[in-house]
């Protein structure tokens, strides 16, 4: 398994830092280092501020500017970025005047393409929040532009930097789940998915502000639940399967929050993947695996998780904890007993008929836990990105190809919902 950059180098850092400390006095250690990477953040709303806060704790970065065309959000960005950061309401002016080495893009989805292109044109390396683009076409163009440059590019799918998901990937790769046969994931919540509007409904600016703050709810700006939530989890699937889907059928609608929103408040998808057998299987023929995905805004019972199922085990994944359940083999179900020689099995008739029950817990052994013993994955993804920038290493943990494949994966589901038909994954993006 190739570890994300930051995870493999952190240990070295601690060792060298501790060594250095033995000779340096505390005041020397507190002296500010030169040679920091000059970072600017465009779009300091909810996510942009998260990124600013994390960036400000990374030694190799200096936030030189923040930009947002909505004053209250620009103010927030400036507060978290610190005094050294210049503020701009016009990001183009910022690119021109500041010439940052790195641009972090956290504007609403419909602007990702334009802002990323402008940032690349300014010569900067770019970190773009997920989902990479609002349309597949934009994604293709952006990918071509990045490939044709020598600029470092990363999409903000932070599970790629999360130790739990990296561990899961390694477990699958080594065959611990056996043959992957299915997956199920969902992100279920129970709220109206609205941002508050700071003026009364009667205010002349209400409409404009509502659209700006609640861009997520409108088709022109947003690709709804699939882009905002589904992208994270379908990226996990593409990553764990090391494949893109071949097609999707999907349905969804505005069925509960009938408040003027245009994006579905519930979506259900079935994806098909064609996988090649990898682990000790007799047949080498490709086979089909189906994955269900759902997202709700009116019931939170299931929360957010991914379940990867194989013939020998199941992985339950969240960003805080992973659980590996091994399938019960015939010899530990409880109604099969080996004879004295340990070779021939015989059925014990007085035993329980566990094998016939539908009780889900009957088949789940005690899971093996995968903990995240430290580290915030958003910070880790940024640390990793900045290492790649420093090393001029274009192969980031979530590069433009992964970003494009992810965007196409979620966008074909929305297409399927609109057209009420099965939609094929674009052929040119499959490998």
């Amino acid at each position: 398994m190739k570890l994300p950059h930051s995870l493999s180098t952190r240990r070295e850092f601690i060792v060298t830092a501790a060594g250095a400390l033995a000779t340096a006095s505390v005041s020397n250690v507190f002296a500010q280092g030169a040679g920091k990477i000059r970072v600017a953040v465009i779009g300091t709303g909810g996510r942009g501020c998260d990124l600013v806060r994390k960036l400000s704790t990374i030694e190799s970065a200096e936030i030189v500017a923040v930009s947002d065309d909505y004053e209250p959000h620009l103010r927030n960005g400036a507060r978290y970025a610190g005094k050294q950061a210049k503020t701009f309401s016009d990001y183009r002016k910022m690119l021109e005047q500041i010439k940052p080495a790195v641009v972090v893009v956290a504007v609403p989805l419909w602007l990702h393409y334009q802002v990323c292109c402008d940032a690349l044109d300014s010569g900067a390396d770019v970190f773009c929040e997920k989902t990479m683009t609002h349309s597949i076409e934009e994604g293709r163009k952006l990918a071509a532009k990045v490939r044709g440059s020598k600029q470092v590019f990363q999409v903000g799918l932070q599970r790629r930097a999360n130790p739990i998901y990296n561990q899961a990937r390694a477990m699958i790769e080594t065959g611990m789940l056996g043959r992957i046969t299915a997956a199920r994931c969902q992100w279920h919540r129970n709220n109206n998915w609205r941002r508050p509007v700071p003026v009364e409904r009667t205010h002349a600016k209400w409409n404009e502000l509502e659209k700006r703050l609640n861009w997520r709810l409108y088709r022109k700006f947003s690709q709804g639940l699939m882009a905002e939530l589904g992208s994270h989890q379908m990226d996990v699937i593409n990553w764990m399967f090391d494949a893109a889907p071949s097609r999707v059928m999907a349905t969804g609608g505005v069925d509960y929050w009938r408040d003027g929103r245009e994006v579905a408040d519930n979506v259900f998808c079935i994806y098909e993947y064609t996988l090649k057998p990898t682990h000790g299987e007799e047949s080498r023929d490709p086979y089909t695996v189906r994955v269900t995905y759902s997202s709700l805004c009116n019931n939170a019972y299931e929360g957010a998780s991914e379940l990867i199922m194989g013939t020998r085990g199941t992985l339950f994944l969240t960003d805080k904890k992973g659980l590996l359940f091994l399938e019960k083999g015939a010899d530990d179900v409880g109604w099969v007993k080996k004879d004295a020689s340990g070779t021939n099995a015989s059925i014990v008739t007085s035993g329980k008929t566990l094998g016939l029950t539908n009780d889900p817990w009957a088949f789940r052994g005690k899971p093996v836990e995968i903990d995240n013993e430290g580290g915030d994955d958003t910070r880790e993804e940024l640390v990793s990105f900045l290492h790649h920038v420093r090393d001029r290493d274009l192969q980031t943990i979530c590069d433009v190809n992964i970003g494009l494949r992810n965007a196409a994966t979620i966008l074909i589901a929305n297409e399927a919902i609109d057209a009420r038909k099965t939609v094929e994954f674009p052929r040119d993006l499959r490998s």
Partner: protein
């Protein structure tokens, strides 16, 4: 914090108030993720893990929080101390912290930060700021009922009325206090083993008492209710002012609240 937070938002626009309430609760969750000692992904966990090995770079917000806590440590003669813990011999004095470079370093390897006596109040202040930015003019917020913050007045344009319970008996209200654009925090001992430590003895407080502080911000109220309870009733007088009011409850002969 592992605490139940609630927000009361009077008004007509239910849709927008719900969105505002959700945003405020998200903000509280964000603070929890920043300050929790138990979440390995929190900033405080990162500091506690690394700061005795080499200096750790803080974000701007945590730098501000540490400045506030250092000031409180000095102002309360060391009775408010986010670096005290029961197992190890360390206090805020063992912490090097430079607000300009935003670096923190533990000179004592046993040092650890614990925002247990600060986080709830601070989270309420942040949630209140966000609600005000959303245009909210009336709200009551509380964390675990021991920290309470009021924005404006209640739906009847009266100050929000809060009942102070007998700390040792459920459902006995000893006194009412009115809040309006200010906050209150209660610290008490004697119901279960106290989680408030006397920084000088490094022991849970022994005396059965309760201290309620009313102040401009919920963080300030929490800092002082914690510190004043630690230092004991007799020392409190020098800390109260027009901005900071303190109410003290002792058990004997019968629970009674006195204004200090």
């Amino acid at each position: 914090m592992n605490t139940w937070f609630e927000i009361v938002l009077p008004g007509d626009d239910a849709e927008n108030l719900q969105a505002a309430g959700e945003a405020a609760l998200d903000e509280i969750e964000r603070i929890e993720k920043l300050l929790s000692r138990f979440d390995p992904a929190s900033e405080v966990s990162r500091i506690n893990r690394d700061a005795a090995i080499s200096p750790v770079l803080l974000d701007v917000e945590l730098t501000g929080i540490l400045e506030t806590c250092r000031k409180a440590w000095l102002e309360t003669d060391g009775f408010f101390d986010i670096a005290v813990n029961r197992e190890e011999d360390a206090n805020f004095g063992a912490i090097d912290f430079d607000p300009d470079t935003r670096l923190i370093f533990f000179r004592n390897v046993n040092a650890r930060l614990d925002f247990g006596g600060f986080g709830k109040g601070y989270a309420l202040d942040c949630a209140a700021r966000l609600l005000r930015e959303c245009g909210v003019k009336q709200a009551l917020l509380h964390g675990g009922t021991s920290s309470v913050l009021a924005i404006g007045n209640d739906a009847n344009e009266q100050p929000w009325r809060i009942g102070l319970r007998d700390p040792w008996k459920d459902d006995v209200v000893l006194q009412q206090v009115d809040l309006s654009d200010n906050a209150l925090s209660t610290s008490a001992t004697g119901k279960t083993v106290s989680d408030i430590l006397d920084p000088f003895q490094r022991q849970p407080l022994q005396e059965k008492a309760s201290c309620t502080v009313i102040a401009e911000s919920a963080a300030q109220a929490e800092v002082f209710s914690t510190a004043l309870l630690c230092m004991g009733k007799d020392k409190v007088a020098s800390f109260v002012s027009p901005e900071i009011k303190a109410l003290w409850t002792a058990e004997s002969p019968s629970p009674k609240i006195i204004l200090l």
